[in-house]
């Protein structure tokens, strides 16, 4: 940053960079170690590769379903359902949180219902949705939305309530109405809370979609996992799980990037 850094400062910065590189290296090594030992123990038959699969078997499976042409269908189905579930859960969650904030009576009345709804394992409603909406993507997305919705509502609403009361008084002293208090203070100051809710929701939506697919689907990664389990093809299960973790990570970082972009511009 500064042109004439003292030797001490240079030393300090070098040390910091070296530390950062070491961490990155160790992270990578841990991954390599896990896959290498997985490969080794299954090759040596200490663990049965038929039950535990192995990195090379996963790679072969991946190539096989890619060549069969079904890989993208499955990945796309799951991804699409997750993104839609995520967006709906987040948007509706924030809208409901705004309504609760606007009406104290409303939030007081709904409070016990929200608490119960939050404690309830939403997956239990899966079969209900299938009966109501048919065994298809709509039911799956509904499961995903229910899983993420209540958490979003509670988290964002709590964030709204924690808005600095002096900032609210300030805009009120300028004559702000309730809507202006919301748009000028409450929403922008809760932006970090909303971003956090979004990150949590990424995970929630994946849970919802995969469980939904377990229950009804004919395509998707959740379907592949269930199918693989039923026909004892653990290679297929492991491949799907790996693809899933890569996708979930990408979506998480995507959301994080969008958040950074927005807060840098706003």
């Amino acid at each position: 940053m500064y042109k004439n850094e003292s030797p001490e400062q240079k030393k300090y910065l070098l040390k910091l960079r070296a530390k950062k590189r070491l961490i990155a290296f160790l992270r990578l090594m841990l991954l390599v170690l896990i896959f290498a030992s997985w490969e080794a123990v299954t090759r040596l038959n200490w663990l049965d590769p038929f039950i535990f699969s192995s990195p090379t078997r996963i790679l072969n499976t991946f190539i096989r379903i890619y060549k069969e042409g079904s890989l993208f269908t499955h990945v796309f189905t799951t991804l699409w359902e997750t993104v839609v579930g995520f967006l709906l859960g987040t948007i509706f969650g924030i809208i409901i949180a705004i309504i609760l904030w606007l009406s104290e009576t409303c939030s007081k009345v709904l409070e016990p219902y929200l608490v119960v709804a939050n404690a309830l394992p939403k997956i239990a409603l899966g079969p209900v949705f299938i009966v109501w909406m048919g065994a298809g993507p709509v039911a799956i997305i509904t499961v995903a939305v229910t899983v993420s919705l209540i958490v979003t509502v509670l988290e964002v609403y709590t964030g709204f309530l924690e808005t600095d009361s002096e900032k609210i008084r300030l805009v009120q002293s300028f004559g702000a109405n309730r809507k202006q208090v919301l748009t000028k203070v409450v929403l922008p100051s809760s932006f970090p809370v909303m971003m956090n809710a979004l990150k949590v929701n990424v995970g929630m939506s994946w849970v919802g979609v995969i469980v939904g697919e377990f229950l009804v689907s004919k395509a998707g990664l959740g379907y592949l996992i269930v199918y693989g389990g039923q026909v004892f093809q653990l290679d297929l299960v492991m491949t799907s799980v790996l693809i899933l973790s890569v996708l979930a990570a990408l979506m998480y970082f995507g959301v994080q990037l969008i958040g950074k972009w927005i807060s840098a511009r706003y």
Binding site: D164, E166, K167, R169, L170, V171, Q172, S173, F174, G175, A176, Q180, K184, V185, P188, S189, F191, S263, Y266
Partner: protein
Amino acid sequence: MHILSMYVNGGIWLVPAVTVENISKRYHTVDGEIPALENVSFEVSEGEFVGIVGPSGCGKSTLLSIIAGLIKPSSGQVSIFGEKLTGVNPKIGYMLQRDSLFEWRTIYKNVILGLEIQNQVTPDRLQHVEHLLEKYGLSNFKNHRPSQLSGGMRQRAALIRTLAVNPDILLLDEAFSALDYQTRLAVNDDIYKIIKKEGKTAIMVTHDISEAISMSERLYVMSKRPGTIKMSIEIKFDMENRTPISSREAPEFRQYFNKIWKELDVHV
């Protein structure tokens, strides 16, 4: 009292900038009623700097919120230039304890917040803002974030935010209490000069006796809860162009301090 103080100046009857008449306020809680203010009356003439001191919890901030139109008194009324106050009034600017600048806005965007809320973002209002920023040395920081400014500069930005909507009366609610002592002395001086230069009427609530004496031309001392006005003193120093810092050096300062200290009757 208010008829007496409607004084004649050059043959013209002046309406006081602020008239507070028999204000009482009771707060209601499940455990009962808490009387916060009882029969508070006083007047502030235009251009005057009035200080209100009192022990903590005496209802002085409540009083200021009532004058700002943010809360309604249980009885009594407030008039601004002779007109009865019914709610938040654009003639009144309110400065709170902390500067409350929004970190998600630049200094410029912070300063025009009031204009945005009042739908007053017009070219000549913006020009007035530019002028204020220029005059008080903040124009180079327009695009900075609040966290990049020093405590004193933040307080200045907060004052310009209040001045941007062009109020006639400023209410300062412990406006400096979040600052450390040295910064506070400098900011007292700075804000005082700006308020005087802009020719505004000011009412300042504080629990700091020295701060009150150094800035006010008239001082009201309030009693413990329920707050009433115990004493009113005119603060005069034998000097021209007094500032908060020069006032602190005046020989009368100590006398005023002792008088108010006795009146406040503080016990540990």
